[in-house]
Symmetry: D2
Subunit: 283 residues, 4 copies
């Protein structure tokens, strides 16, 4: 079912013909992303308190998540909105990671945070709004921790791949691409999930490619469907927002799954993966 780059000019991005590539797995703590298994990362949008973070961490672990997400510094459109707990949350974050023995994926928004965060993080996240923040990418190129690079919501696939080069040229080859929805004319959903980009990036780069279904659609009841589609097209994993009580969340509550939702979703994902002989990664 293969076509070569010669037969399809559409496999070019602006100028460069991209070859078919095999995914190189990325080690994240004890976990491998992009290897034979499908990896599920889950956790709250923002880390809000010790109790909320611990409850979420234990819940998603019990349902099968292999890495924990949670925002410490948040990127918010309004300077007056909740900006995350910041470094004061670090002491209890360590406690939660120790109790659950899970690695943390968290967003870094300023090159000067890296020094502080480095002891706590299994994988750094570059958020969509910072994909073009090349100063940050260069700094992360000098880190030895892997980087999850979210696609900017208006970045061409080509620009996304080239942003990854800002990291790899610094010597850091541990890069995981994450599609999280793009901005289009459609406003019925928060963003437009670009499934094509997942397929394209998976086929034409050697980076693992995961999907953030929570931002990609932005409506809780639709999040599981997007996650299933990611499994169906051969993505390497998903990163899902989960909150014990979404209606009380300080950010993105409308798109957070409950712990119960998440448990159901894990079973559905396992079903679809199994139909495609793709194993689900376990801790």
């Amino acid at each position: 079912m293969e076509i070569t780059s010669e037969t399809s000019p559409l496999l070019r991005t602006h100028g460069a013909v991209l070859p078919l590539r095999k995914t190189k797995a990325v080690q994240v703590g004890d976990i491998k992303i992009g290897g034979p298994d499908f990896s599920v990362i889950a956790g709250p949008c923002s880390i809000e308190s010790y109790g909320q973070f611990l409850e979420t961490a234990q819940g998603v672990k019990n349902s099968g998540a292999v890495l924990l997400r949670g925002g410490i510094w948040k990127m918010r459109t309004s300077a007056k909105a909740f900006q995350g707990l910041g470094s004061e949350a670090l002491h209890f974050i360590r406690n939660v990671l120790d109790q659950t023995k899970m690695g943390l994926v968290t967003e870094v928004t300023d090159p000067r945070q890296i020094e502080v965060l480095d002891d706590y993080v299994a994988m750094y996240q570059v958020g969509a709004r910072n994909m073009f923040n090349y100063a940050l990418l260069k700094e992360l190129g000098m880190s030895r921790k892997p980087i999850m690079l979210k696609r900017g919501f208006s970045a061409l696939i080509e620009e996304w791949i080239k942003a990854a080069e800002y990291i790899s040229l610094g010597g850091n080859e541990g890069i995981v691409l994450c599609e999280r929805g793009i901005r289009t004319f459609e406003t019925a959903t928060r963003y437009t999930f670009d499934l094509n980009a997942v397929i394209f990036a998976k086929a034409r780069t050697h980076y693992p490619v995961i999907v953030d279904p929570s931002h990609a659609v932005g409506i809780r009841e639709f999040v599981p469907k997007v996650a299933l589609a990611a499994a169906a097209v051969g993505a390497d994993g998903v990163i899902v927002e989960v909150h014990p009580r979404p209606e009380e969340a300080l950010s993105d509550g409308k798109q957070a799954l409950t712990l119960e939702d998440f448990k159901i979703l894990m079973k559905q994902i396992e079903g679809v993966l199994s139909a495609l002989n793709h194993p689900l990664q376990k801790l």
Copy 2:
């Protein structure tokens, strides 16, 4: 996993809060779209000759397609490009339909074609470029044949749903929605497949919703992945472009599957559907 329209303002399109709806199946010849089964429609972009159409029809039928697609009048960006065979093809089309006992889905591009086509067609297709052609929609509202209404490549979901009302207000309730990719800033793929819209339209309207993976991504090797995603999210079917020799196709060859590709795809679709307890419709 349900949220109500009260808790999510995102379930509004511009102004109207849309309720959760149950799909009403649409009868298309001997087939039901939007019932318990997943329906696969396949065939060439354009009907080019008796031989090409017959070979494709027999091939896709053998692999499990339940309806035949094939363009008679084509919408082409350039007035100088191949415009389809037009009415001169009708005599051999009848012959192919009789031999294969399949129903035909074909695009109508002018209200004045309906009279000519009516004896040949199981379901009319309104193409993406005609979704806003309300004169055509009104005319089809007076037909007794079902209509597959493709989403305009820049139509809001809300406009798509309202376009369907131009048909239903005329008395024709046999409407099947088809998502086929939208136009965004991304150019690496032909269009951006809007998976979110499939999920949204399925949840918030009573129309069956199918996916055209061929136009939605526009690159042969990626078409099967998009079709699998459609199956994974609970779409009611797919409509796929297939050509015995895509490299010789007079239109859209780059996105046509070969008969062999299509056969493999049908098995993969069946696998994913089965994981989700969704039966594949058989003739």
Copy 3:
């Protein structure tokens, strides 16, 4: 200040390098569009009644408009919205045209309307939603009346130019392009006015290019600014929505200028044109 197509790959649209072209004027009744003068077309969105149409026509004529616009069949997103008066308005339209001695520009939405309209129309308008309605364009190619072809709100400049070929290949060379805003992610204004497209089409085609500032921004107070920009970049004219009492308009009232607004705008346009030695066309 010229660059050649050799030095700038950006002057290509997909594939074709477009040469610099000189505008060929189009005769519309007694008026020339695309000649040395800048032409102002004005009138209501919809023709609502004899009184409303006559009052608007006399008002815009007194302020300097050279052609009259007014919709008879309207393209509305909702099938339940006001669809225009249709052919029943034709008798009083003739009366207004005779009294004011102005030519009418009106939209044709169905190939079967042409026969009815032909005696009333100085120039046919193809609306944005019908730019891809090639059946309609082919029919208009056989008319001897000039055609104002609005750009589809999601049409590439290249597709707009190629749509014009559907008309010219039929033998009708009287084509005026009209930019009226495109659909983008921005929602603060109704559409995004694509000024670049005006400049591009003017430089790279031989068609006169005019601007519809009313749809392009969709907010009354901003409409005059867009019209001034059109004058500043060398467009061949503007087509402006005017209503004696916008708050009572049956369609598009939010973007209609009052007769008083329009009078002020005409003076500002004349000022900008005069700074650029571009005469304003008078009846």
Copy 4:
């Protein structure tokens, strides 16, 4: 010609109704942006050498520019492309500024550059790709130098205005907005210049609003037209890329005006401004 926020729901951005506002001028060195005069900023995309920068500075000053632009650290899609001279250029930049007695507008791409740049800069520029880099904006909020905030190429007008709050909440009220084109489906021009956003931001914020016609269209021959449109709609100024020999430029040569082009443009701008009683600022 005024409509109030009550009569037009379109004057809302997502949620907030924005009031009509009067522009507050911003002092930039000896110059005022947003006062009664129209300000022209010009200079090279990148500062490439002492000779190139001096020649450009003297040229644009002679034609009437009141501030100098020039990039020291460049934001480039590819990590392998020319990244600007960086801090090694600072010594000769001082020399050029002293000779020409002009203030410098230059982009800051990393919060850690501010300390180094502060002695050289009359106004900091935040580039389009950093509009969402809130860490950088917060840092600039603590500076006493004014900030030119370019609109992200996919930022809603509302997000652009809210990004400015990240600066003003830090205590820095010297903010100048700059529209430089947005990313849309259209590819014939580099970006789509959003003239509507200029008009909207001018009417609904108190910030001065200027236009970058060079990036907004990206094609040298079309840049002057965009600049004239900015003058016609009442923008507070333009920032234009000029290079003595564009074909030798290390970045953005295709959109740079020659010194001769720029001289002609200044005269055209003065003509349009004079028709609208808007004075051109002089040094």
